[in-house]
Structures are given as structure tokens and as C-alpha cells.
Amino acid sequence: MTSDAVGQPLLAGINLRKSFGPTPALDGAGLHVRAGEVVAVMGPSGSGKSTLLHCLAGILKPDSGRVLYQGSDLTELSDGQRSELRRTEFGFVFQFGQLVPELTCLENVALPLRLGGVRRREAERRATEWLDRLEVTGVAGKRPGETSGGQGQRVAVARALVTGPKVVFADEPTGALDSLNGERVMDLLVSSAKQTNAAIVLVTHEARVAAYSDREVVVRDGKSREVELAR
């Protein structure tokens, strides 16, 4: 968890504003993350944490402000370009419902590769490797509904990492798990991302999960704040 990340931010949201109807969700929030760095986004429910994550990931387009990824502004890309970027450069882990129930766990993990044009045999070979790293090889042939919550979430982490993303967005990744399973998922997510020098933007309201980060940004009423303590 000690970051060796240095240099320019890989991804930066600057002065982001976003409203849903009359309700402002982001009111000038910002955040940056460097390669290999884990940044926790904390704050109460409804504070704008997830909206910030969605803007940074190019899922939502902010009303104003910039999202710079490796120097280019995501807000200026077309929907198609942003989709392509999400598929090739970003990985996602959510709290629930991210695996396709009709596919086996192996097919779920291989899916992002298949969508990127990788041949089935190669995609499944790489998916198997990731299931192995996440210690869930045994569920490869099962459907998500036949696995436990902890196993399903490890499969989801494998799927997020299989394409070798530069940034992983994790929104309450352990929210549905007990302490022990949550800890294992975080151990595996963070150690795997560190090995590939991927950055993680980790939305959580749990301090024990945030403790896996290198630093934290607090969002409240759509504004972000980072406290720098004296050494």
C-alpha cells in the first residue's frame, strides 16, 4: 500500500459540476490519481462520491469542469470514444450485479477480452490465470448465482483486471461482504493492481477499506477536500 507513484497524475478531475435536474450532485469537486496509487473517496451517503467516480470514469459527462486522462480531456470525447476508453483502459468493480448471470464465471472474466476481439481460447486462458490469482479457480464452470458473495466479488475483480487496465474504479467493492471476505477481496484487489502499476479510485464509506489506500479525498455536499497532516 505504500505508493511508489510519482510524477504527473494519470487521471485528474478538475472543478467538476454535475446536477440531476435541480439537484446539484457535484459542486466543484476534484481528484487526481497517479499510476500505482490507491485513492479512497469517502463521505456520507448522497455526498456525490459515486457521481464523482462516474464522471472520472467517463460514464457520466459533467455539466462543467475537465477530466484529464493521460493529457486528453474525456469531456471532449464522443460517447463512442469514451466507451472504447472504458473498455480498454479502465476496470470496474461494483458492489452488486456486475456479472452476467447466464454466463459461467470463466466466461464472465473472459468477456471484456472477447469484446476487444481476443479469440476465445486465448481469452479463456487469460481469464483462467486471473481466476487463479484471485484464488477462485474452482468456480470457473459455475454461474454467478451458484457462488458465494465473496467468490462472486473475486470473480468481478478478476474481470476488472483481466484487460490490464490503467485505472480501476471500485465503488463499495466490499459493501455486501462480511469482514473476512471483504478483507480478502481488498488484499487481492490492491496487491494485483500494485503488481501491474494500475491506479485505483476506491469509493467507500468504510474506514477499514479506506485504510488500503495511499490517501483519501473526502466528498461532502458535492465538494471535495483532502486533509494533509503534518508528518
Partner: protein, 173 residues
């Protein structure tokens, strides 16, 4: 932490010299805060006086380190009673954090800032504990978990208090 009871518990396994006892304690319970020899011998002397341990042998050469201590039947009962008696839950509401939040509100300062700064300080320690867990053995993990859950409880309470700042501010005024 009751050092006396912990030493008694260690003696329940087998009689030991004071030096062995200190080493066993430090290895299992005192990684962050090892015992001083003075503490060990002062505690043993108290336990001896109270009939909870006895000297089971003295090796030639004299000196306190040569005595071997064994737990007595009364000592075993004492350990059993200690283990079966719950610790008094610590009162949190009057602690420093509460005072700071209330004082911030009373003085018109930003109570959120108290929370954010405290969260940052708590998280710094929690990160160290999380790192230590990753490299430590099972004992380390259990000790760190306990500290982590306590720190988390402090933070959860502070978050809730902050969510109730409006209500609290009204009551204070």
C-alpha cells in the same frame, strides 16, 4: 491489560523462570510494549505474596533469575475468574473527540474540519496497521484487527455525530 493475570496464564502452561516468563510475554503480548525486568519481578513478588504463585525450585547461584515459579491452585482459580469476567466497556461519549466536536460548535468553528482532520489521523494509523497485517503472522493480524475495529468505531461515531451537527448545535445553544 492485567500483567499479573497474563503472567499467571503463562505459568499455567508450565513453571518458568522470570526471564523465560518475560520472553514468553514479550513474544506473545508485548511486541509493541515489552515488559521491563523490574515489572516482571515486582509482579511475581506480588503474586507470591498473594499465594497465587510459589517458588518451585531454586537453582544454584542465587539471584532472582534462578527461581522457578509455578502457579498455585488459587492462581488457577484467579485466572479462570479473570477470563470469565467481561471487561468494563469504555465510555466513549465523554472522550476528547466528543469534547472537540462540541467545543467547535460552541465556538462557531467548523466541526466538519474536526472530523476530517481526525479521520485523516485515524486513517494514517489504520494504514500502518493494515500494512502490518499484510506482513505479520496470525497473532499480529488479530492484534491489528482489534485496533482497527476500535479506530473504525471512533470514526463511525464521529461521522454520525457530524451528521447530527445541526441537531447538536440546537441543543448546545
Amino acid at each position: 491489560m492485567s500483567i499479573g493475570h497474563t503472567l499467571l496464564g503463562l505459568l499455567e502452561g508450565e513453571p518458568r523462570h522470570g526471564y523465560d516468563l518475560k520472553r514468553a510475554y514479550d513474544e506473545r503480548f508485548g511486541k509493541d510494549r515489552p515488559l521491563h525486568y523490574g515489572q516482571v519481578y515486582a509482579t511475581l513478588s506480588r503474586l507470591l505474596k498473594n499465594g497465587l504463585v510459589e517458588v518451585s525450585g531454586v537453582e544454584a547461584g542465587g539471584g532472582p533469575d534462578r527461581k522457578r515459579y509455578a502457579i498455585t491452585a488459587a492462581g488457577v482459580t484467579d485466572v479462570a475468574t479473570w477470563l470469565s469476567t467481561p471487561e468494563k466497556p469504555e465510555p466513549y461519549l465523554q472522550n476528547t473527540l466528543y469534547s472537540k466536536v462540541v467545543l467547535a460548535l460552541m465556538s462557531g468553528r467548523d466541526a466538519h474540519e474536526v472530523l476530517d482532520t481526525q479521520r485523516a489521523a485515524h486513517l494514517r494509523v489504520m494504514r500502518e496497521l493494515t500494512r502490518r497485517k499484510a506482513t505479520g503472522d496470525l497473532t499480529d493480524q488479530l492484534i491489528c484487527d482489534h485496533a482497527l475495529f476500535h479506530l473504525e468505531a471512533d470514526l463511525r461515531w464521529l461521522e454520525l455525530t457530524t451528521a447530527r451537527l445541526g441537531q447538536l448545535a440546537k441543543e448546545i445553544s
